[in-house]
């Protein structure tokens, strides 16, 4: 069937072009991070270097505070995920499983919160966090992140709980389990992939976040890598090679995590967004 063959060909053309557009900037950055500075700053563009070096990575890791930034980001990300996991899982479970007075308004509330401009939150959070001594602290930043990540977590997780049949809990309760027991023993194991996907999504968002971090951290001790990298660019005229290296290091975990759990995560985002 020549006509459908033609469409297949066209489809592949579109996919190849789009993938190239998406991936080539990342590959170019990777390539830049491996080039000698002399091969980056040239009169004639060098597309395929004849020699590569890991100097940018080594310098960035040893002679800047990048490791500290990465550790800070890890701490902030972990705490954010932990808070969302503990408070968000049970909340989304309640929304997914029960019909109770106030359910719709509360769910809409969690949705509207997503519309709040970051700036509108950041300014008062700055003042409030300063008052309670959480400004410029990693835990403080993580708590601030929950303001927009927790609603996201709840909506996404609710989709996964919705997908687990309600009768399972009824069956478990009749079998002698409490609601809590049914949730822990029956539903959580089923929703495990969903929990994982949601956590990873929140982790990526927290890891990537820039604006809150810029405003709410002021010192070495709590600054995250996006802020650190941005400040390095401004303050030290960071060479392209090192900037590229920093970028690659920072997105590596994102790419790995995304590739690993892409399908469940994509399904969860779609479910959370559509129902919202």
């Amino acid at each position: 069937m020549p006509r459908s063959r033609l469409w297949d060909l066209l489809t592949y053309a579109v996919l190849v072009i789009l993938s190239a557009v998406c991936i080539l900037p990342i590959l170019w950055t990777l390539l830049t991070s491996l080039k000698y500075e002399a091969d980056i700053v040239t009169r004639e563009m060098i597309y395929w270097p004849t020699r590569i070096t890991f100097d940018h990575y080594v310098t960035l890791w040893n002679q800047s505070n990048y490791p500290v930034l990465v550790v800070n980001s890890l701490v902030v990300t972990t705490v954010t995920v932990a808070i969302c996991l503990v408070t968000g899982t049970v909340a989304s479970y309640a929304f997914a499983r029960f019909r109770f007075p106030g359910r719709m308004p509360l769910m809409m509330g969690y949705l509207v919160v997503r519309m709040f401009p970051a700036v509108m939150m950041i300014i008062p959070l700055f003042v409030v966090m300063r008052q309670v001594g959480l400004l410029d602290s990693r835990v403080g930043l993580a708590i601030a992140y929950t303001s927009f990540l927790l609603p996201l977590f709840v909506w996404m997780m609710k989709g996964f709980f919705d997908a687990a049949p309600k009768e399972l809990e009824s069956a478990a309760r009749i079998d002698g389990s409490t609601r809590l027991g049914a949730m822990v023993r029956i539903v959580m194991p089923i929703a495990r992939n969903g929990v994982l996907a949601t956590c990873i999504f929140v982790a990526i968002a927290a890891w990537n976040e820039f604006l809150f971090a810029l405003m709410l951290t002021t010192s070495q001790g709590s600054r995250t890598w996006p802020v650190g990298l941005q400040l390095m660019v401004g303050e030290f005229q960071l060479p392209w090679g090192m900037l590229a290296a920093g970028g690659i290091i920072s997105i590596l975990p994102v790419i790995v995590l995304f590739a690993l759990i892409q399908r469940a995560m994509v399904a969860g985002i779609a479910a959370g967004a559509v129902k919202g």
Binding site: P165, E167, L168, S170, A171, A172, R173, I174, D175, G176, S177, T178, G181, I186, P189, I190
Partner: protein
């Protein structure tokens, strides 16, 4: 094993009343079928018995004990769900044994009971499979195994057969009946399938819009339906309804509204000139001149089913179905006379729909 008693059960979701004052009693070892179209409240009633939903008012008594405030886990009931609700992460053995596990039954005893239940249901060879690896019929058996293993006071079935194909459904129906005969546990069984209700129940409650229309043994429900809803819901093809007026002069008779046909009766169901609706089941028609009671109609459609031929004909502007013998050699368009078994006619009040 226990008796079940419901007293004045009401349930409303906000302004919507789904159950209005349900009373019923079921003897120990009885098999009660809750029958009705979807949305009639039968499943809600079952959930209330199970404790999965709270009644807005009324009492539930199991074995004489009021269980309104007892959590489902402590009611000692077992339930089979329409979707089977097998725990997908556990294998068949653990699925069946989960109730025992929750009740802290020691391991060896549990294994033994699971094995016995599985053998009874002929799924002993499937114990280490996961639900996803089972066929529909096998899942159904596992769900039943999970229910019987605990030896509960009360079995609840929520449309357990409606996800099976026709052949398997008949087979499992027999199986459930056999299990009930053997175990003797009190059963409440929800279905919208009148054949299941007729074959399984020792008692059938026909429900509509949250109200029990009739509660009786299956044969009574079939022979003496309490109202037109019950009459129309039970039986396939459904009971035929004809509008008419009662005449007492010159022998009791029914004059059909529409074409004025006169159908002689053995007794008048109401006074002279009263409007009534006559309900006649398809099998109460006969072909030919043998009967003194006749109806004349024009054949619209013939539907041979093998053992019978369903004849759809138009009588007095109404469409009625008669179950006649096969190979009767009739053709659409022909006018025929049908005999009626007049002792089997049920009369209804056209205003209220209740039987006279």
């Amino acid at each position: 094993m226990a008796t079940l008693e419901l007293q004045g059960i009401r349930k409303s979701f906000g302004a919507l009343e789904v159950l209005s004052s349900v009373d019923l009693e079921l003897e120990d070892g009885g098999f009660l079928v809750l029958l009705g179209p979807s949305g009639c409240g039968k499943s809600t009633l079952l959930s209330i018995i199970a404790g999965l939903e709270e009644a807005s008012a009324g009492d539930i008594l199991v074995g004489g004990r009021r269980v309104n405030e007892v959590f489902p886990k402590d009611r000692n009931i077992a339930m089979v769900f329409q979707s089977y609700a097998l725990y997908p992460t556990m294998d068949v053995a653990r699925n069946i044994g989960f109730g025992l596990e929750m009740r802290k039954v020691p391991g060896p005893e549990r294994v033994e009971k699971v094995r016995a239940a599985a053998d009874l249901l002929q799924i002993g060879h499937l114990l280490d499979r996961k639900p996803a690896q089972l066929s529909g019929g096998q899942r159904q058996r596992v769900a039943m195994g999970r229910a019987i293993v605990r030896d509960p006071d009360l079995f609840l079935f929520d449309e357990p057969l409606s996800n099976l194909d026709a052949k398997l459904r008949v087979q499992m129906r027999t199986e459930i009946k056999r299990l009930h005969d053997r175990l003797g546990t009190t059963v409440v069984y929800v279905t919208h399938d009148q054949v299941e209700a007729m074959t399984l129940g020792t008692k059938v409650a026909v429900m509509k819009e949250g109200v029990i229309q009739q509660l009786a043994d299956p044969q009574t429900i079939y022979d003496r339906p309490a109202n037109m809803f019950v009459a129309g819901f039970i039986g396939s093809p459904a009971m035929n309804f004809l509008d008419g007026t009662v005449e007492t002069e010159g022998g009791p008779a029914l004059v059909l509204t529409g074409d004025g046909q006169r159908v002689a009766l053995d007794r008048a169901p109401a006074g002279q000139g009263a409007r009534v609706i006559a309900g006649i089941r398809p099998e109460h028609f006969t072909l030919g001149e043998g009967s003194p009671v006749r109806l004349t109609g024009r054949i619209e459609v013939l539907e041979p089913t093998g053992p019978d031929t369903m004849v759809v004909l138009s009588v007095a502007g109404r469409e009625i179905t008669a179950r006649l013998p096969p190979r009767i050699g009739l053709a659409p368009g022909a006018m025929i006379d049908l005999g009626v078994d007049r002792s089997a006619i049920t009369f209804f009040n056209p205003e209220t729909g209740t039987a006279l």
